[in-house]
Symmetry: C2
């Protein structure tokens, strides 16, 4: 198999480690780096190093941070904890600009088929936070089988602390047509119908 | 607009400069770097720096190289020059393992609509190479309008040196069905039909 010279092959291999990047794409990325100016390439490399060195996990909530504890934990209402799967979800909720409480990033959901058990995600850390003046835990996990199972597990545990547990509403998405809504969603929307 | 902390945003911006990478993909790549071990991230950054520093353009043929002139120019039959658009094309031909001559990488094709003129690609360098003992120039450019125009331009110029100019055969792709072959290809295949 004919290959590029070694430094290019190395770079292609590195790009190939990014999620969803196959051989052709990795090659395209690597060649585009060779097209960059020396300064641009250095900035790129520097951004990787800087991000890796400066981005830490907040010891309280598990979100990305460069200060400890993170600015959300430090400045917001600690009485409400919103539990999410990953840091990306925090960003999605923050964009709404409505939520004033703090977060707890699990770093995954319980998924026995892929070997993710109760002790593999930040559950113990969540339960440790409950012994304060927390009055509500909001479950904002994905509406997948694993997310649901994790929600059920957490809700049972949190209730033993006598703390209110809520979850995000499930139902038909705004703007979606009834005929294209999947059966599970439709059935859930029927069960949870609200008097108006 | 809510954003990630600065080092992550910077990294997302850097990934966003790769070809065909939009905001969501850049975010995914950046977060995957944060998931890497420190060593892995350093290797990634190092590969970028190393590639940028060590990969040079061969002054003779324009291909990527880490020695000067490149190992193809240094060791192969300089009597035949195969003209290609970019370094990737060299690799495609080298994979065949059949061609024994040298290459000339243009770094683009003449494309006035996108502001690429005769002096923007490595044409002068090609013509300079012709004053040796070159006996054939093979045009292996893309079968696009721009590739064809560039082939015509080069072939006219090379002929003035009294050197044989050939181009890759055009016709129906091996394994393709006649009914799905586009009209231009089919018409070209008819015109260039060969007695068997």
């Amino acid at each position: 198999m004919v290959k590029y010279i070694q430094p290019i092959e190395k770079l292609i291999r590195q790009f190939g480690r990014l999620p969803g990047v196959g051989g052709k794409t990795a090659q395209r990325y690597a060649l585009s780096v060779l097209d960059m100016s020396e300064t641009d390439a250095e900035e790129f490399a520097e951004a990787i190093i800087q991000a890796k060195q400066n981005v830490k996990i907040c010891p309280v909530c598990g979100n990305f941070t460069d200060v400890q504890p993170c600015h959300i934990c430090a400045t917001r209402d600690n009485g409400t904890i919103c539990v999410v799967k990953e840091a990306k979800d925090v960003l999605a909720i923050e964009r709404l600009g409505e939520y004033k409480g703090v977060y707890h990033v699990l770093g995954g959901v319980i998924d026995p088929l892929h070997g993710v058990g109760v002790e593999d995600i930040r559950l113990a850390q969540l339960f440790k936070r409950l012994s304060g003046d927390v009055n509500e835990v909001i479950l904002a996990l994905d509406a997948t089988a694993e997310g649901e199972a994790t929600s059920t597990y957490i809700s049972r545990a949190v209730k033993t602390y006598g703390i209110k547990v809520t979850r995000l509403a499930q139902g038909i998405s705004i703007g979606s047509e009834l005929q294209y809504t999947d059966e599970v969603t439709l059935s859930r929307a029927f069960t949870n119908r609200k008097e108006i």
